[in-house]
């Protein structure tokens, strides 16, 4: 892959971790990352809070929520790229992990409502509605932020580990794996749609009031969440860059390209696939947890087949097997979506459908691949 070609050969295991992380990105990439963080953590907050709404440089609350949401999606897209672009495994179940993270954090947000719900009860409104008298056992500890944060990571990891272990052990791969993950997500969606499951049925969780005691809709809270999402995205990119250039990442890419050969050399693909699968699921869970307080709702439709497959198209549009590609793809597709659904709601699905077809037929390397082609043509012409 072209993404790995620019890496210096490092003596593995000898160089301190910090240096290896530093070596994961080249200087241009580090600068880009710093600019991105400066924009997200300093410029946007200043433009939002300090400037009056009339100013053309004012960043509206709507824009902040939108960009924050898309950054969560970009995080999911990077997670998807790790498993699909580098591992060659197309998951149609990433919506499930995203939703699990979202629900795990949503439970905490529901408890933070306290007695401010419509029924003035200690229980979340939907439980009062179901005439439940106390919290079910799996809501135990949901009032603690720490436990919620732990669940955000542990729940997707556990589900991914159990499912992945059985799937990879019996060497389910290719389309089979995609379809099984889709079925798993579908089953989970049906489960969460039930009122008796205890997660609010088809309304899910909404009407949040506070997070860690701070009002959730206040501009400052929004900006903090926005900044945290930006940091999470940047950290994920660095981590992913380090991961795919490590020995682990190389074995993974080798498995993608020729699994049987890797086995013949003596590696067991199971643990490589399982590790990247669990990492990818955890990243999705974190993205879901950051998404819920910013968007203010989580419901089972996040687990619909369409949502999971859309993640794949973000990655494909940006360019698989590169790390910046998924981010570009997530931003391009979702900005187009917000524009279309406001201006031409009728045509959005036509556009999205065409995008799926055009990208797979004409742009197998995505926008990043197209860009590289243009650059190399220019260089070829000038040389």
């Amino acid at each position: 892959m072209s993404a790995t070609s620019s890496v210096l050969p490092l003596p593995a295991g000898r160089v301190p971790l910090t240096l290896r992380v530093f070596a994961a990105l080249d200087r241009k990439a580090w600068i880009a990352l710093a600019v991105f963080l400066a924009l997200a953590l300093v410029v946007v907050p200043v433009l939002n809070l300090a400037l009056p709404p009339e100013s053309i440089f004012h960043v509206s609350a709507y824009a902040i929520t939108l960009i924050g949401k898309i950054m969560c999606y970009a995080l999911v897209a990077v997670a998807m790229d790790l498993i699909w672009g580098y591992g060659g495994i197309l998951s149609l179940g990433h919506g499930l992990f995203f939703a699990l993270g979202g629900y795990a954090f949503g439970m905490y947000l529901m408890r933070q409502i306290g007695r401010d719900g419509s029924y003035q009860s200690d229980l979340p409104d939907f439980m009062v509605f179901l005439d439940w008298k106390e919290l079910p056992w799996f809501w135990l500890g949901s009032d603690s932020f720490g436990w919620a944060a732990f669940l955000v990571v542990a729940l997707p990891a556990a589900v991914a580990f159990v499912f992945g272990y059985f799937a990879f052990r019996s060497r389910i791969k290719g389309v089979y794996f995609s379809i099984i993950t889709q079925a798993l997500t579908y089953a989970a969606m049906l489960l969460f749609f039930r009122n008796e499951t205890g997660f609010g049925g088809n309304n899910g969780f909404t009407d949040f009031k506070r997070i860690l005691g701070y009002p959730i809709t206040a501009p400052e809270t929004r900006l903090v969440l926005f900044g945290l999402t930006a940091i999470a995205l940047a950290a994920t990119l660095v981590f992913a860059a380090w991961l795919v250039k490590s020995k682990f990442g190389r074995v993974l890419t080798a498995i993608r390209d020729a699994e049987s050969r890797v086995m013949f050399i003596g590696y067991n693909p199971l643990w490589y696939k399982l590790t990247i699968w669990v990492i990818s699921a955890v990243l999705c869970g974190i993205a879901g947890a950051l998404y819920v307080p910013q968007v203010g709702i989580i419901n089972p439709s996040e687990m619909s087949a369409a949502n999971s497959i859309e993640i794949a198209i973000w990655v494909a549009v940006g360019g698989r097997g590169t790390l910046i590609g998924p981010v570009i793809g997530a931003f391009t597709v979702n900005l187009a979506k917000s524009w279309f659904t406001v201006s031409f709601p009728e045509y959005w699905l036509f556009f999205l459908g065409l995008l799926f077809i055009v990208v797979t037929l004409l742009l197998p390397q995505g926008l990043v691949g197209l860009w590289k082609k243009i650059i190399s043509k220019k260089q070829g012409a000038s040389a």
Partner: protein, 526 residues
């Protein structure tokens, strides 16, 4: 003297015509108190004289009038004196007899009981069926009489059951015991709840009757469980046939050709909308033959879906052979476009596709077990489509070519099989069969732009479990999954059943990664 004789004769003939019900009892029908009215109805029924049925029917129809101590039956045209059957004028102050719901129930039972003496067997049978629940003790006499008169074995056994229900609260323990023993043969939830109180000391004083009731209850529960299982298997077969129709086309495109077509559900949708379009056409142009829109929709759906299939194959899928994950994404895009196109053409709301009149109703296999005609016909239709596919794949030149291309594309090409055209034809065939499945679906589920989405997971499960490259696998997998999930559904609820099935499939694939019918030989590992 002569005149008196004539009067007497007239009186006698009119008496013979309608005087059989006791006039005192008939007058009591107009009593102020409802209990008196009911007593009169019951006594009239127990006597079961000819003419009673007419009278009670008139009362149930609110056409029995009272004026002073005279009663009249007025049917909108002429008035008849209810006591002597003579034609009369309806007096001005005549009022209809008020019938409340309690009375109506009594009247219905009484009328049914009286129909037991009808000359027509069908009428008697219907009446006996109606008297299978909520039979009061007051009907015991008339039921016994009817049972003893009855010649037909089926009606006789029904009457015996009804009589047993009526005598269940009899004062004589021996009669109760006989009733319980008779009821042991019945298998209905209503009888079960009737017998339940008799198994307890509070509801039944006699020990023998209690024991008999417990035994009867057990046997009823056993046969009820059997019927539940039977009903479960039937609805499983029905679900299985739907899964089969949805999955058969996929078994060709994915199972045989290896194309993963996420737009398969939308081909079903096209079939269903073809049925809707044909229905609209027939309603507009040939309203007299509207019941025939369904047979007409079958070829239309096949060719409409096949045409879309050809278009899909030629423009998109052709370029992605061998790249299954890309095919998956591209066909997903196609499905989005088709869904939106259906929304633009037919609107986002579900459209109404009515069953033709010959498909409504059902066959009663057992009491309490009715098989709806539309389900039965869909099972038959699935078998027909299956047969068609089998013939096409195994007995025609096209089928042979398809199998040859599946087994070895290069070799088939070398011996002159036009592989590219065969790909198109086979894909069109799979799409057309999906269209046929859509016609069947239009008869039992909602027809809307995103109806196909619900079937895509299930139909892929069928193909995955059945094994790639085989039609037999798809058949067994569809029926197995259908029956299995319906039986589980009865036991654990629909959602839990679905999840259990899915877990079972994942475990099953552990053991048999290639499905039930794995291809053997050198193609198995491709």
């Amino acid at each position: 003297m002569k005149k008196r004789l004539l009067t007497f004769l007239l009186w006698a003939t009119s008496l013979g015509a309608l005087a059989a019900p006791d006039p005192a009892l008939v007058r009591q029908l107009a009593a102020d108190d409802n209990s008196d009215k009911i007593a009169a109805i019951q006594q009239l029924t127990a006597a079961a004289e000819p003419g009673t049925a007419k009278l009670l029917q008139a009362m149930a129809d609110d056409s029995l009038y009272v004026a002073g101590d005279k009663l009249y039956v007025y049917d909108g045209e002429k008035t008849v004196d209810a006591l002597n059957g003579e034609t009369a004028e309806l007096p001005d102050g005549a009022e209809t007899i008020t019938v409340n719901n309690r009375l109506r129930g009594e009247l219905a039972n009484a009328l049914a009981a009286l129909k037991l003496f009808d000359a027509d067997r069908a009428v008697r049978l219907a009446a006996a069926r109606e008297l299978q629940s909520q039979v009061g003790a007051e009907l015991a006499g008339v039921l016994a009489k009817a049972r003893d008169q009855e010649q037909d074995a089926e009606i006789k056994s029904l009457l015996a059951l009804a009589h047993a229900q009526a005598t269940l609260q009899d004062a004589d323990p021996a009669v109760r015991l006989a009733a319980v023993n008779t009821l042991a043969a019945a298998a209905s939830p209503a009888v079960k709840s009737l017998l339940l109180p008799l198994t307890e000391a509070g509801g039944e004083s006699d020990e023998k009757v209690r024991a008999a009731a417990s035994a009867a209850l057990k046997s009823i529960e056993r046969s009820l469980a059997w019927m539940d299982t039977l009903a479960g298997i039937f609805s499983g077969l029905s679900l299985g046939s739907i899964l089969l129709l949805a999955a058969l086309g996929l078994a060709i495109t994915y199972g045989v050709m290896g194309i993963i077509n996420m737009a398969h559900g939308e081909l079903l949708m096209i079939g269903a909308y073809s049925a809707y379009a044909m229905q609209s056409l027939f309603r507009a142009w040939a309203p007299d033959y509207v019941d025939w829109y369904l047979p007409a929709a079958i070829p239309v759906a096949f060719f409409a879906a096949a045409a879309v299939g050809v278009l899909m194959e030629r423009t998109v899928i052709r370029w992605l052979y061998g790249r299954t994950l890309e095919t998956l994404l591209a066909t997903w895009g196609l499905s989005l476009i088709l869904i939106q196109a259906a929304r633009v053409l037919f609107g986002a709301q579900n459209v109404e596709v009515a069953n033709p009149s010959w498909m409504s109703g059902g066959v009663e296999l057992l009491p309490n077990l009715i098989l709806p005609w539309n389900r039965v016909i869909i099972i038959g239709f699935a078998l027909f489509v299956l047969f068609l596919v089998w013939v096409l794949m195994n007995k025609t030149r096209l089928g042979m070519f398809v199998r040859a291309v599946t087994q070895n594309r290069a070799m088939a090409g070398c011996v002159g099989v036009p592989t590219a055209r065969i790909d198109t034809m086979a894909f069109a065939l799979g799409a057309g069969i999906a269209g046929l499945g859509g016609v069947a679906l239009s008869q039992i589920s909602n027809v809307g732009p995103d109806m196909g989405q619900g079937y895509i997971v299930d139909s892929f499960m069928v193909v995955v479990v059945g094994g790639v490259g085989q039609l037999a696998g798809a058949v067994w997998a569809a029926l197995g999954l259908g029956i299995f999930s319906k039986l589980l559904e009865g036991w654990a609820g629909a959602v839990i059943a679905k999840i259990m099935i899915l877990v079972a499939i994942i475990i099953f694939i552990q053991k048999r990664p290639q499905g039930i019918f794995a291809l053997k030989g050198r193609f198995a590992d491709q």
